[in-house]
Symmetry: D2
Subunit: 135 residues, 4 copies
C-alpha cells in the first residue's frame, strides 16, 4: 500500500470530526505507519498545549492505517482497548505518531504507538492498542 | 459547584476541537459528574457507529469537570494515563459519561468512567484515568 | 456455580505460584464474583505494604473465576489486556477483589475489578481486564 | 550501578513471593534494564503456558530496577498505573523483560516494557508503567 492509498483510507472511513485533525500519512510499511498530527490552535487547551484527546484520537486512527496497510486494504475492525500515557507537553509543533504492529493475528491485532514532537527525540505520549478484526 | 458553573469550565478551558463535541454537564456532585455526549453524524465512523475517539475524549474531559467540581473550581491539571475498553457499539444515541472520583489526592487523582447509551443499562465503554494536579 | 465449585477452579487451573496467594472465593453470581486475597507477610514489599503485583495477579485470577461462573464451568481463555491503577496502600489486611463482568461476548469478555481492604470502603486498586474466550 | 548492585535491590526490597520468581538482572544502563524471568513449572498455568500474572509482576519489578539504576540507588516509589497486553504464549522458555524509561521526572516516571521469550524476536507481552517517586 502506498502513502496515497493509506491517505484515502483516512478520508473515507473516519468521522468528519476526526478528519478535522488533518492527519497525514507520512509513511506506511509492512508492519508500521507514521502519521503526522499537524499543530493547530483548534487543538490547544487552556495554557496553550496540545490537548491529550487529540493525541489519543491520532493514536487510534493511526493504528487503523497501519493495520489496513498490513492487510493490503481497509478491513472492518473495532478498537477493543487503548491505554495512553502522557509524558511531556507539546506546544506549537506537529506530532509524529509512529505505529508498530507488534502482533497481527487472525482476529486480534496489537500495536505500540509512540508520539514525538516533530524534530524532537523525547516521547510526548505512548499508547498501546488492541483491535478486533472483523474480516 | 452548580452544573452551570461546571458548564462554564467546559467552555473556557478546552480546545475548540473538543468544544465541538457539544458536551453538556448533566450533574455534578462532591465526587462525581455526569456529562452528556450528544449524538452527531459528525462523530459517526464508517458503518454508522459513534467513533471511539469521541468517547475517549469525552471521558477525559468529563474527568476534568469532576475534579474541578470536587475542588470547587478549575485547577491546572494534566492527564497522566487513560485506559479505555470499548464494549458495545452505539448508533444514533447520546452517550452518558458517568465519572466517579475514586481517589482525590494532593497531587494525583483517579477516576472510573462508565459510558452508556442514553436510556440503556449496558456499558458501552469504560475508562480509568489518572490526573496530576498542579495546584 | 457454587463457591465450592469456583474454589475448585482456583485449585485446578492456576499455576502453583498463584495458588500460593491463598485466594478464596467468597461469592459467585451470574455476572460477578468476590475473591479474598488474604494478608500474608510473604506479600509485603519494602515498607510493609501489600505488593501491587499480588493485587494485579488477584484481579486477573478473579476474572477467570467470574467468567467460569458465568459460563457454568471453566472454559479455556487467555488474558488479552489488563490495566490497573494503584490508589491507596494496604498493610496487614485482607483485600476483597470484586469482579463484575461488564460484557460477556462470544469471543471477548470485559471485566471491571475493584479492590478494597477488608472492612474499608475506599478503593485500594482498580483494574479492567479483557479476555479472549477460546471455546 | 552494576548488575550486582541492581541484583541486590531485587533481594532487599521485594516481597518474598516476588523473590520466588527468581528474577535476575542481565543488564542495567542509564535509562534501561533487562531482567530475566526464568522458566519454572511453578509459573505454568493450565495448558502449560507461562501465566500472565508472572509477566505482569516481572514488568513491575523490572521497572523498579531500572528506576533505581537511573537514580543511582533504590528510592521509595509506588506504582501508579500498569497496562499490559498479552500477545503470544510462552512455554518452557525464560522471558527477557526489557525496560526503557521514557521519562524520568522529579515525581513521576514512565516506562515501556517489552517481553520476549529467550532467543525469540516476537513480542510476548508489552507493558507501560507509571511510577510515583517519593524521594
Amino acid at each position: 500500500m502506498t502513502s496515497e492509498e493509506a491517505e484515502a483510507i483516512l478520508q473515507e472511513y473516519f468521522a468528519p470530526w476526526i478528519r478535522q485533525l488533518g492527519l497525514r500519512v507520512e509513511e506506511v510499511g509492512e508492519r508500521h505507519a507514521i502519521v503526522r498530527l499537524p499543530w493547530s490552535d483548534d487543538l490547544a487547551r487552556e495554557g496553550g498545549g496540545l490537548c491529550g484527546q487529540a493525541m489519543m484520537a491520532a493514536a487510534d486512527t493511526a493504528t487503523v492505517v497501519a493495520i489496513s496497510a498490513a492487510r493490503g486494504g481497509f478491513v472492518p475492525m473495532t478498537t477493543v482497548q487503548q491505554s495512553t500515557t502522557f509524558q511531556r507537553p507539546v506546544t506549537g509543533k506537529d506530532v509524529l505518531v509512529d505505529v508498530r504492529l507488534t502482533k497481527l493475528g487472525r482476529t486480534l491485532a496489537f500495536a505500540d504507538i509512540t508520539m514525538r514532537a516533530d524534530g524532537g527525540s523525547d516521547i510526548t505520549a505512548q499508547a498501546t492498542t488492541v483491535y478486533a478484526l472483523l474480516a
